[in-house]
Amino acid sequence: MFDDAIALLKGFWTTVKYTARPAVTIQYPDVKRKPADKYRGRHRLYKTDEGLERCIGCSLCAAACPSQAIYVRAAENDPNNPVSPGERYAADYEINMIRCIFCGFCEEACPVDAIKLGPEYELADFDRKDFVYTKEMLLDPARNAPKIQYHADVDRSTDFRGVHTTLNGVYRTHHPIGAPDTRPRIDDAGHEPGPAGEEHGPVQAGAKPAGPEEAR
């Protein structure tokens, strides 16, 4: 019984001792702790030392993305005035940050280290559409990441990866499912735009001829 009483007093002494310790609380809005080096926050797109965009528009990040948050539309580089070091570059690069789960697979999938997840974590905003981050915002968030942006390709794009999903409205450049794609085909620069009603231009354009060619 006396042991119990002593144990009780020890407990009380323990809590009192803690008052002498500095509080572990970090007063968040006033004091911001530095995230870990490997913290996966807001994505960044990087440029080469020459100032070219590293992204070659291969869409591997989009393929790796488990929540289908990334949309890439590739375009051919103009050899005289290249945007990226490769043959193609990302004409559109969008990440829907509401879908993103910050797993970092895009970073792992990227063959040219174009995309990395940075330390920034204060991503709250008021409007759903403001969470679709464009290439400009991702390349230079300091300058191009305001809350409201305008994208020229609104309602003028293909479905993601040529698959009809229920992502209607998820992408800024998404056009209504089933609607004809009248968008000029940027990837086949110089060619005539595809026939009206042909969907999924850029992604399927490479895949379509594959069948007959293999047969030959």
């Binding site: 009780l8 407990g11 009380f12 323990t14 809590t15 009192v16 803690y18 008052t19 310790r21 500095p22 509080a23 572990v24 609380t25 007063q27």
Partner: protein, 331 residues
């Protein structure tokens, strides 16, 4: 008996005490959160106003504007009345606490006590046990299983620990020879604080007092890890606030009773007495309540019952017997 002047004095005094209690209760929440934070190496609410002093106000405003939800399965009358019973009982208990001695205002002698009942101690026990009706009826009236379980626990716990509370007070009454709280304070002023004469009774009283107010580590009626929130699970908004206020006011009242019965109330040895001593002593006990909550984990239900019936009750009875024998022997 009817005297307009005394009536006015009583009403004014009651209003002052009720207002004081409610204000103290509001700042008790702030005090508790800050102190418990320090005891756990945290900071606690410090943003709303200077050092978070406006936090109780913000909480009150929030609770006022919350939706008042009444479950379909609830008993309309009981559900509405129960929190009021709790609050009333908690506030009523303070009526017999002597806040100070007799002061002269404009030639009139006024006792700083709402009602100096000759059986103040009995009234105190009655008022504190009335509170359990609020818990039981609220739990029953909610029509929810968690509320009902919480109410069952509350009933069993409060009824059991009432006994310990009563027994510990009985030994105080034997020593002082008075059932009036003012008399007990006077008896302590002429001898010594009863915490010295009756240390066992004091420990029993504190344990029973904590259990009676359903505070940690005896907060089984509202054990959030088992019963969501116990008897007030279904309550929201101001009705919930009434239970909340009742709990804190009961805590304050219990502190005042402890200070009065065992620490000389509003008096202090060799120094002029006054309400400030009572307030100081109450602050000590309120800190004790918070300290307890920060330190001890909740008891299991069987532990709670064993502690009451198998440990505290025999000790209490023994204490009363010994006290009675000694008092009789001394004369």
């Amino acid at each position: 008996m009817f005297d307009p002047f005394n009536l006015t004095v009583s009403v004014v005094l009651s209003l002052i005490i009720i207002f004081g209690l409610l204000t103290t209760m509001a700042y008790m929440t702030w005090f508790e959160r800050r102190v418990i934070s320090r005891l756990q190496a945290r900071i606690g609410p410090n943003k709303t106003g200077w050092e978070g002093l406006l936090q109780p106000l913000a909480d009150a405003v929030k609770l006022f504007f919350k939706e008042d939800i009444r479950p379909v399965m609830s008993d309309r009358l009981l559900y509405v009345v129960a929190p009021a019973i709790s609050l009333f009982a908690a506030l009523a208990a303070f009526a017999v606490i002597p806040v100070g001695g007799i002061v002269s205002i404009a030639g009139n002698n006024i006792a700083l006590q709402v009602a100096d009942l000759p059986v103040g101690v009995v009234y105190l026990l009655a008022a504190s046990s009335l509170g359990v009706y609020g818990l039981v009826l609220g739990g029953w009236g909610s029509g929810s299983k968690y509320s009902l379980l919480g109410a069952l626990r509350a009933a069993a716990q409060v009824v059991s620990y009432e006994l310990i509370l009563g027994i510990s007070i009985v030994s105080v009454v034997i020593v002082s020879g008075s059932l009036s709280l003012q008399g007990i304070v006077a008896a302590q002023a002429s001898s010594a604080w009863y915490v010295l004469l009756q240390p066992v009774a004091f420990v029993l009283f504190m344990i029973a007092g904590v259990a009676e107010t359903n505070r940690a580590p005896f907060d089984l009626p509202e054990a959030e890890s088992e019963l969501v929130a116990g008897y007030h699970t279904e309550y929201s908004g101001m009705r919930f606030a009434m239970y909340f206020i009742a709990e804190y006011v009961a805590m304050i009242s219990m502190s005042a009773v402890a200070a009065t019965l065992f620490f000389g109330g509003w008096t202090f040895p060799f120094l002029p007495g006054g309400p400030w001593w009572l307030i100081l002593k109450m602050l000590f006990f309120l800190f004790l309540f918070v300290w307890l909550r920060a330190t001890l984990p909740r008891l299991r239900y069987d532990q709670l019952m064993r502690l009451c019936w198998a440990i505290l009750l025999p000790i209490g009875l023994l204490n009363v017997a010994i006290t009675a024998i000694i008092v009789a022997a001394i004369g």
